[in-house]
Symmetry: C2
Subunit: 142 residues, 2 copies
DNA sequence: TTAGATACTTACAAAAAGGTATGTATTAAG
DNA sequence: CTTAATACATACCTTTTTGTAAGTATCTAA
């Protein structure tokens, strides 16, 4: 009954983007997807580079939108556990798909780089070095 | 050899987000994915609400990042055809996954709305009406 | 010679997103 | 009485993204 691919696309895709949009939300979701419950502090340490402000902001949005559960333990010092809801968890495969595509795209970029010596390629490629370097840093140091 | 899920995640996921990030790129990609080649003007009409500036900007980025081909026909008036490259096309399944998730999320939102009469739910829900309305508009009008 | 079609470009403004720094509440341990 | 731990909140500023409006180039047809 709902036709014209354009319309459907316009709506449902936008909806999905409203939820995972932004710099941090996908990462938070991804991490939550790998654990049953995670405390605020653990999440903060797990999502490299995120500030407390951004973490709470992301979690609040995700909770409001129904993807995340928040469980408060009335203790001191406080303890709050976050977890994915059912729809939240149903999004994990999508995240995995994005992650895996990122992997193959990285391979592609590296292959491209070896081909074109001239810097034909753009911004993303300029970052691939840093990216790989970061990888190495962690691989060799750890 | 590359370990610590965190690191991998941090990089590859970011990479993917660099490509599909923003308000319009996913939509442009989605539409390109449904056609072999699309002219600039057709794309502009297809991606509802996009301005010419945003369209070119998106296409430039995507071309620079290797996801999109640009073929110029030396004519007057000008003719330019856009299409997906191989890696570009390999991203289509991911887009579809996002789209489908959006669909089920919409169902969830509607179900939720019928449950809670009090407006427990947040921003996304406030938009669902408009969303459905838009759908109806197109369904009934067309 | 003037208007129309197409694919852009540019300048400027508005809005959204993100970052940094600092503050709050509570209780237990020292 | 001070410090530490944890989970936030708030103010303010910077950067990034998006939008609006106008202009450019080229040939064809009227």
């Amino acid at each position: 009954m709902k036709k014209t691919g354009d319309v459907e696309f316009r709506c449902y895709f936008q909806l999905a983007m409203m939820v995972i949009g932004g710099k941090w939300k996908p990462k938070v979701l991804f991490h939550l997807g790998q654990n049953d419950t995670v405390r605020f502090g653990a999440l903060r340490r797990a999502v490299f580079g995120i500030s407390e402000k951004m973490l709470i902001q992301s979690l609040k949005d995700l909770e409001r939108d129904g993807l995340v559960n928040r469980k408060v333990y009335r203790q001191v010092p406080p303890k709050v556990e976050y977890s994915l809801t059912d729809i939240g968890r149903s999004f994990v495969p999508v995240l995995n798909a994005m992650f895996h595509w990122g992997q193959s795209y990285a391979s592609y970029l590296i292959a491209q780089k070896e081909k074109d010596h001239d810097y034909q390629t753009g911004d993303v490629l300029e970052n691939i070095d840093e990216l790989v370097q970061t990888d190495n840093e962690h691989i060799t140091v750890k």
